[in-house]
Every structure is written in structure tokens, then in C-alpha cells.
């Protein structure tokens, strides 16, 4: 009887999460919302962001840490966009986590998103005490970006490096096919 209750609760939660919008981050509580030129960017501290790294559903998440000032990050962004476009209907979700300075979100990040017409889900991570949370993303992360996590309920991989498109797709396929 008890387990039925839990199951009901769980189902209820699932449908709630889905009704609540189609973005992964919509279940999270941002610390601030930026809005400019018709683009809304939600900003999170690490605590409010962390659940996005530990979802256990049938989706594979590709989470890329980047910033507009980071050349190698900007260079590989089109590959993440391409991956998102190709796999978005196959339970793959690309999330671009911007580490831009808070005072650059409206002046630089949003104009960049508009100019590049980025389609993947984008959110902003603003938590200056990075030493407190870097290892919670992955123990081997030095804190340099670009960095990427690809995970699903079965497997999780962390990469502190840049990708080419085929490289990125390969990694995704290996994780999906596990």
C-alpha cells in the first residue's frame, strides 16, 4: 500500500515536471532572471543549479561549461548546437552553461546569443566561490573551461577539453549505447 502511494507521488511529480515547461531548468529556482532583446536568461548559484547534474530519467544530458570570452569554447559551440539539432528528438538534451561575469549577461551574453542564434538551452551559473563546487561537478576538473559533462541514468563522463563535432558525437553515442 505504502509503495503504491510513493509510486503515485512519483508519477504526479513527473507529470508536474513536464507540465511546468519544456526546459530542463524550469524545475530549478534561479537566483536572478536577466531579460534583454526578448531573451530571458536565468542565473543560478551552484546549489540551485546542481540538480541538473543528477537527473535520473531517460534523457542523456550534454552539459557544456563555457563563456563568451573563452575562445576555444566559442569555437566548439556550433558543434554543440549541431548535436542538439540532430539528437533533440532522441532524448538528448544539450545545455549550455554560461560562466560569463554577471555584469556581462545583458551587455555581452544576450547579444551573443542573438547574434549566433543559439538554439540549445542556455543558463547562467554565478557562484564566485568556485573552490566550493568545482569538485562537485567532477573530481578531476581543474576549473578550466571549456568543460563538458555527458551523462544519463547509466553512465557519466567528464571532459576538460575541446571537441570537434565528430569527437563530440562519438562520445555521445558511446554513452547512449551503453
Amino acid at each position: 500500500m505504502k509503495s503504491w502511494g510513493i509510486l503515485l507521488l512519483f508519477t504526479g511529480f513527473l507529470s508536474f515536471a513536464q507540465d511546468n515547461g519544456n526546459t530542463v531548468a524550469s524545475a530549478l529556482k534561479p537566483i536572478k532572471i536577466y531579460e534583454s532583446g526578448g531573451v530571458k536568461i536565468a542565473s543560478y548559484d551552484f546549489n540551485s543549479f546542481e540538480p541538473i547534474l543528477h537527473k535520473k530519467d531517460n534523457t542523456t544530458y550534454v552539459i557544456n561549461f563555457w563563456a563568451t570570452w573563452c575562445l576555444p569554447c566559442v569555437k566548439e559551440l556550433p558543434y554543440f548546437e549541431q548535436l542538439n539539432e540532430k539528437y533533440k528528438n532522441q532524448n538528448v538534451k544539450v545545455i549550455l552553461v554560461s560562466m560569463d561575469m554577471p555584469n556581462k549577461v545583458e551587455s555581452v551574453l544576450i547579444p551573443f546569443i542573438l547574434k549566433k542564434k543559439l538554439q540549445s538551452e542556455i543558463l547562467h551559473l554565478d557562484d564566485p566561490d568556485a573552490n566550493a563546487w568545482i569538485e562537485k561537478v567532477d573530481a578531476i576538473w581543474s576549473g578550466a573551461i571549456p568543460a563538458t559533462v555527458i551523462y544519463n541514468a547509466n553512465k557519466s563522463m567528464f571532459y576538460e577539453r575541446s571537441f570537434t563535432y565528430s569527437d563530440l558525437e562519438n562520445e555521445l553515442l558511446q554513452i547512449i549505447n551503453k
Binding site: 563563456a67 570570452w69 573563452c70 575562445l71 576555444p72 560562466m99 561575469m101 554577471p102 556581462k104 564566485p128 566561490d129 568556485a130 573552490n131 566550493a132 568545482i134 569538485e135 576538473w141 581543474s142 576549473g143 578550466a144 573551461i145 571549456p146 576538460e160
Partner: protein, 203 residues
């Protein structure tokens, strides 16, 4: 069964060698001795740690012109040198980036930046990007506090300058200052390694 055992052994060996490779590639660890170097300063003169006869140690900072995190810390780096140079721990700044990959980090622009900001410390160019891998620096800014001993310059702290890049007034822990203060008092460095977000080094 036997093949299984052999393949298991092979897997073990591979895993083990992967780990050993990783640790030897990743640069200096705490209590390692840092090798000296000779790098070109913005005044065109070569600088080595051994030039500093009276130093008790060094605050070696891998930093650069272009990185927003490095820029955010520029004034704090200048303040570190002002405070600790006279106490025997001068700042030695090194730009590890390859200007062919990141043009904003060229030697000319280093000279310009040092002049604009009135750097009181050497700002060295890691020509050919040879020194930063020895340290194991991965990003800018990335700090190594060294203590000069008879055996050599011993790595005593690796990591961030403090715990808030964006707002100096909100800093709770000044990691580098705490490390140097402890060394000056012959005490154990309280926090030996920290991590921070930074611009990956462009080699």
C-alpha cells in the same frame, strides 16, 4: 577462464598505467621542488628565481592579458606584490599563452599592459609554452606559492588567489595571503590547494 584472467590483468595494467601517466603529467604537487627557469621579462631582461638572493620564497602566478578572470585579479596581484615583496615573497607573473592562438597575449601587449597598470613585479613570457606544463598550470590565473629551502623552491600552495573573483569586498578567505603568512611564521599552510574557474591556457 584463463583468457578472462589475462584480460582482467591487462585491464588492470592499463588502468594503473593510465593513472601513473596522469600523475606524472599533471605537474607539481604540494611539497615538490619547482625547477628554476629563465624567461624574458617585459623589460626584455631574462629573469630566474635564482636572481632573487634574499627572497624567502615566491608567489608565482600564471596570468595573462586577455582573460577576464586574470583582469579581475590584476589589482589584487599588484597588491600581493606590494605587501609581500618586502617580506621576502615577491610576485613572479608568467603569461603561459601562445600568442599565435590568443593574439591578445602577445609580448608587445604584455609590455603595454604592464606599463598601463604599473606592474611592480616581473611579467614573464613563457616562450614556446615550456614552463607552465612543468608546473601543471591549466588556467589563468593559477598561483603557486614556493618556499625557498636549501633543497630548492618547494611548492607550498597551488590554486586561486581568494574565494571570490568577481567581488573583492565579498572575499571570505584569502588563500594566497594565508599561505604566505603561515610560511612567514614557519607554520603549516592552512589550505594547500584550491580550485577556481579560469581561462584554459592556450598553447
Amino acid at each position: 577462464m584463463r583468457t578472462f584472467k589475462i584480460s582482467a590483468l591487462l585491464v588492470l595494467i592499463t588502468v594503473f598505467s593510465a593513472f601513473t601517466a596522469l600523475s606524472s603529467d599533471s605537474g607539481y604537487q604540494i611539497d615538490d621542488i619547482a625547477a628554476d627557469f629563465s624567461l624574458k621579462n617585459v623589460n626584455n631582461k631574462k629573469v630566474s628565481l635564482s636572481d632573487y638572493k634574499d627572497a624567502k620564497g615566491f608567489i608565482v602566478i600564471f596570468t595573462c592579458n586577455h582573460c577576464p578572470y586574470a583582469k579581475a585579479y590584476e589589482d589584487r596581484i599588484i597588491a600581493l606584490d606590494k605587501r609581500y615583496e618586502s617580506l621576502g615573497y615577491p610576485v613572479i607573473a608568467i603569461n603561459p599563452n601562445n600568442p599565435a592562438v590568443q593574439p591578445d597575449d602577445s609580448f608587445d601587449l604584455m609590455q603595454k599592459r604592464a606599463k598601463e597598470k604599473g606592474f611592480t613585479f616581473p611579467y614573464l613570457f613563457d616562450e614556446g609554452q615550456k614552463i607552465y606544463p612543468k608546473f601543471g598550470a591549466t588556467k589563468t590565473p593559477h598561483v603557486y606559492v614556493l618556499e625557498k629551502t636549501k633543497a630548492g623552491n618547494v611548492v607550498k600552495y597551488i590554486g586561486a588567489i581568494d574565494d571570490n573573483y568577481s567581488d573583492e569586498t565579498a572575499v571570505k578567505t584569502k588563500y594566497v595571503e594565508n599561505a604566505v603568512n603561515a610560511l612567514l611564521k614557519n607554520e603549516e599552510v592552512p589550505v594547500k590547494t584550491t580550485k577556481a574557474i579560469g581561462c584554459s591556457i592556450k598553447a
